[in-house]
């Protein structure tokens, strides 16, 4: 639960953002807590001496063994109390460390995203303002399309939330959370995905080309891109083998769902081909300015993008109906981890040192 997922963090990057310095700050914090306990120790010692003196005063000349016993008991109590305080301090320290690591992880994801955006902008020679990176089709300075900049900001927040859900799922499964609570977590995660579909549909109204080309995604994710998202059938194929015990009925249902997905995807791909053909013909014929063409085209793209989101949503829904809550939790965890790894891969490749020029011709 506390250990980060298998992300690849190039060592070169660590120094720049100084998490080591931050970790040593945390260590100092811990040490100061320990020394706090140590000073309590001194106070306790003083108390013991004081108590012993008062014992002497009230009982006159004490019998040696009885006095020794009382002293020993009081000393034992003091020791017990000190041990308890130390345990408490250590526990609090561990909790603080855990919270700090979680914060680090979410900051790191955000950082990778920002790095990708900067790299992307550099490649395109765009000016990076405070308004994000929506670029119009003619490649000029960053557009002020507020629908797209809104989407990009929202997507950043959406990613953080998705990572929190993934972490929560991992914790829930390893701590053997009860079915009802797990079911609520699963429902929450699914609703979060549905929210993204809604966001994309709204963004398509602002700039359909943007959504269709997946500009907000990391480079490795774009490698698998299909009409504004992932192929649902691919996700089923990748992730289903990870779910252990399934009944025959479930396997058969999932196989049918996969087949239906494939058929729907083929139909939509051909629809997309037709749309591309129409757009290309319009552009070639110089018909962009005509009133009749442009609204139809952008409406068609919006509708296609919305339909793809809808298909993704329906696939998720069907999966959740076929699987038990626990199986769904494992599947959603695998899904979250898969995308996190793709993003980490993108970041790693984007930050590799350049290779020396290789001579291919001997």
């Amino acid at each position: 639960m506390n250990s980060p997922t298998s992300h690849f963090v190039p060592p070169r990057r660590m120094g720049v953002y100084d998490p080591i310095h931050q970790i040593s700050m945390w260590e100092e914090n811990f040490r100061s807590n320990v020394s706090l306990s140590a000073s309590t120790l001194l106070i306790d010692d003083a108390e013991i001496k004081f108590d012993n003196q008062s014992e002497y005063a009230s009982h006159g000349i004490p019998g040696t063994s009885k006095q020794y016993d009382q002293e020993a008991n009081r000393l034992a109590d003091k020791i017990q109390r000190r041990l308890a305080q130390n345990r408490e301090a250590a526990r609090k320290s561990r909790l603080r460390k855990k919270a700090y690591v979680q914060q680090l992880e979410s900051c790191r994801v955000k950082l990778m995203q920002l790095e990708q955006e900067v790299d992307h902008a550099k490649q395109q020679g765009l000016h990076i303002g405070g308004t994000g990176l929506g670029s119009n089709s003619l490649g000029f300075a960053a557009s002020l399309n507020s629908g797209i900049t809104n989407f990009e900001m929202e997507y950043g927040r959406w990613l953080e939330e998705r990572n929190r859900h993934t972490l929560a799922l991992r914790n829930a499964l390893s701590s053997h959370m009860g079915d009802v609570e797990l079911g609520e977590l699963v429902d929450g995660t699914m609703n979060h995905y549905f929210k993204l579909f809604g966001m994309k549909s709204a963004a398509a109204k602002a700039d359909a080309f943007y959504v269709m080309s997946g500009m907000w995604k990391s480079s490795a994710e774009r490698f698998f891109f299909w009409i504004g998202g992932f192929r649902p059938s691919e996700i089923l194929k990748i992730l289903v083998p990870r779910i252990e015990t399934m009944t025959e009925q479930q396997r058969s249902d999932i196989s049918n769902l996969g087949k239906s997905c494939q058929q729907a995807e083929d139909a939509l791909s051909q629809g997309m081909d037709k749309l591309q053909q129409m757009v290309s013909e319009s552009v070639a014929a110089g018909q962009l300015e005509e009133q009749t063409n442009t609204p139809n085209m952008s409406t068609a793209m919006e509708r296609l993008a919305a339909l793809v989101s809808f298909v993704n949503q329906e696939t998720l829904l069907q999966m959740s109906r076929i699987l038990t809550k626990r199986q769904a939790a494992r599947w959603l965890l695998a899904l979250g981890e898969y995308f996190q790894r793709l993003q980490a891969l993108s970041s790693f490749w984007a930050n590799r040192p350049p290779k020396p020029a290789e001579c291919l011709i001997p």
Partner: protein, 102 residues
Amino acid sequence: MEKVTRLASEKGVVIFTKSSCCLCYAVNILFQELGVNPTIHEIDKDNEGRDMEKALTRLGCTAPVPAVFIGGKLVGSTNEVMSLHLSGSLIPLLKPYSATLS
């Protein structure tokens, strides 16, 4: 309206489309893949196209195209068709009208 209902009941699987609509094209492709040959009516090529469009909207098809009718009853547009297919309910509806499915 009558034209729409008449055409819709003439054949088992009827789709009202517009010639430039890529979603209509996609739905047609899907049905072909499932072994069905739907009857297509391009309402933008029809004289009464605008009335037919209004009729379809009144029947509940907001898009208004593609409008899919199976066995004379309105199934819906792309969302409804996709939803039915992914839940496994489309093929049973199409069985009576397909050579390959039955």
